[in-house]
Symmetry: C2
Subunit: 354 residues, 2 copies
DNA sequence: TCGCTGAATGAAAGCGCTTGCAGCGAGCCT
DNA sequence: AGGCTCGCTGCAAGCGCTTTCATTCAGCGA
């Protein structure tokens, strides 16, 4: 209310009858001052409603107790979960999250990274492997530890926590192949601006190639991630290149879009069409039939990135790469193709972790 | 790479052959120095890869160019959208977002608020009207402008941007009443820890009371927000107090859960059961039938909160309360109750903004 | 030619905190 | 009892930047 300057540490020290230095120590580390002194300072601080001045502290210690994160659209539920988990984990350790987001735009990412460095972020978390070269270079030059998340960096140059999207994608494609599918369509994400989307698409190609199957270009659509776009893309595939018995979504919303479009058109899932997604968002398990997908432990990734960063800041060293599990979750949207004399495994109605 | 101390402004000044003060001015305001001088400084800065030290600047200017936000679980898609929009809007103005989240825990919110104040947030955005008294008091004492979001504060004491959840809830309940429903059940959010959930439930009661209808306690279930819990709650309602013809979800995921449970049980929607939600998440419009709901413009709320805060920081004044539109979106999940000789309005298949 | 004006620049005082170093007693050993 | 160690405290020097106030100097009118 009143514009009485908020109390500084000097005020606390005076009120407690000790020097500035002692007050500082009392607040920082109980072991540094006598118990009585400490109590006096704490009381004075409480009485005055003292709030430490972070900038001053940061200037003096060269530590801001802040971690920066630059994420693609935080409104993608999967990033939202990671953000939340990360923020929570940091809070426990007395750290705070500086968050910036961008729309899959690497220049914006670079700008955001600079802004966070300038704000004094002690560590940074980025998403994915692909960035403007300056982004990582700036971080390295500034001596700021960073973690790349979601993907795995096989060059061994960067700390990272995530999973191999390509091999997960291979796994789920094999699941379809094992069921007997040969004609497969893909609704991919934006492979030009998103390395996860690219890896996932490559994984599909790899798995097919391993069985001598080619993925024709007309069976692939690239769109931004959303249910509506997944629906539209599925419709487009049906127009353009009908005859496929399974469709692979670049992520769950895309797959759910395809599922809804099937329902709207009366296409039976999985009897006439199998559908798989990627991510395992909450809804995937609630739909009927449930969506077969790859579980990406997004919250765990966020938490783990935070944990590793804090460990490194504390001087402990951590393995360069942390691989997170990404199990295939078989639910009801996958089954043998129509007229299949193919594989034994029937579509299971009950979720099962494979 | 090398641990050469990163360059300070003094280094830039030296390289440019000017004083520290001039270098500072050249970077801060072009109008303050001669064009030639300015260019020299800019070049030197670029050459050295100079990055300003935010903490030092914050200490000197008493401004951190940072806005704090304390949100309930950021992984709720509706908050995620607001976070993203807010971060984006701030970035354009050279501000950065300091984000903290909590799980509907007011003490955690207070702690987070303190942490953000300590980090020097120039402004704050909080969600909802209910907080620990210290939370707002601390903010006021520190002279930090804040915006309460989502809800509207009718006391006129606080700046806020949001909507009246109660009157929106009344509107959507009236929609059901107008269709002829009299037996109504509610799957509410956690009213003890969430004032939006409480207001929404109160709105239902108000609307019913206005037509002389009571809402029996057994027709109300309170659960956390999620599709799975919505499903379970709907099932519980059917056991406990069958006979209702419409169910009101405290938010869209809850309503979608009810919808899925109906589908699983073969209950026709809307012929045998009408369902409404609240929020209008993306999926609501994609389902078939589409979910009738209230559209809460969450991204706009985030953006608007940012806009207002920046304006206030710039010394401009803004109206204390900003009301956001929250239209009723009528889609396919609502229709007349079975055997209704009631109202004219048939369930419309096409979305319509009312 | 001299003094005046104003634009451009520089010197230096902080902003609020941490921390190395020094001082000061009290306790302990011999 | 004297000297030494050690725990606690205070002094003061920054951390890197902004900003006030003073200074310099070019340009101009008289």
């Amino acid at each position: 209310m009143a514009s009485v300057r908020s109390p500084r540490l000097a005020d606390v020290a005076r009120a407690a009858g000790v020097s500035l230095a002692t007050a500082s120590r009392a607040l920082a580390d109980p072991a540094l001052v006598r118990e009585r002194t400490r109590k006096g300072v704490l009381d004075a601080a409480a009485m005055l409603g003292y709030v430490p001045h972070g900038a001053a502290r940061a200037l003096a210690t060269r530590r801001s107790r802040t971690i920066g994160a630059v994420f693609p659209p935080v409104d993608n539920p999967i990033f939202a979960g990671a953000t939340h988990a990360l923020a929570q984990h940091l809070a426990v350790a007395g750290y705070t999250l500086l968050l910036a987001s961008h729309d899959y735009d690497y220049d914006a990412e670079l700008a955001a990274t600079r802004a966070l460095i300038e704000r004094g972020a002690d560590g940074m978390v980025l998403v994915g492997l692909v960035h403007r070269p300056e982004t990582l270079a700036t971080l390295a030059r500034a001596g700021i530890p960073y973690e790349l998340t979601w993907s795995l960096d096989c060059t061994g140059r960067h700390h990272c926590v995530g999973l191999s999207h390509r091999s997960a994608s291979i796994r789920i494609t094999q699941h379809l192949l094992d069921l007997g599918h040969r004609e497969i369509a893909v609704i991919a994400g934006d492979t030009a601006h998103n390395d996860r989307a690219r890896e996932r698409l490559d994984g599909v190609r790899d798995a097919l190639a391993a069985r001598g199957i080619r993925l024709p270009a007309r069976r692939v659509v690239e769109v931004g991630f959303s249910v509506a776009r997944g629906r539209a893309a599925f419709a487009a595939l049906l127009e353009r290149a009908p005859g496929f018995t399974a469709v692979i979504g670049g992520n769950d919303p895309l797959a759910i879009g395809a599922l809804l479009e099937c329902r709207a058109r009366g296409i039976a899932v999985p009897d006439a069409m199998s559908i798989v997604g990627f991510d395992d968002i909450e809804l995937a398990g609630e739909l009927a039939p449930g969506l077969t997908t790859i579980r990406v432990p997004s919250a765990e990734i966020g938490r783990e990135a935070g944990r590793r960063l804090l460990a490194r800041l504390a001087g402990r060293s951590v393995p360069k790469v942390k691989t997170m599990p990404a199990p295939l979750i078989v639910r009801g949207t996958t089954g043998p193709p129509p007229h299949a004399g193919a594989k034994p495994a029937p579509a299971r109605r009950r979720p099962a972790v494979v």
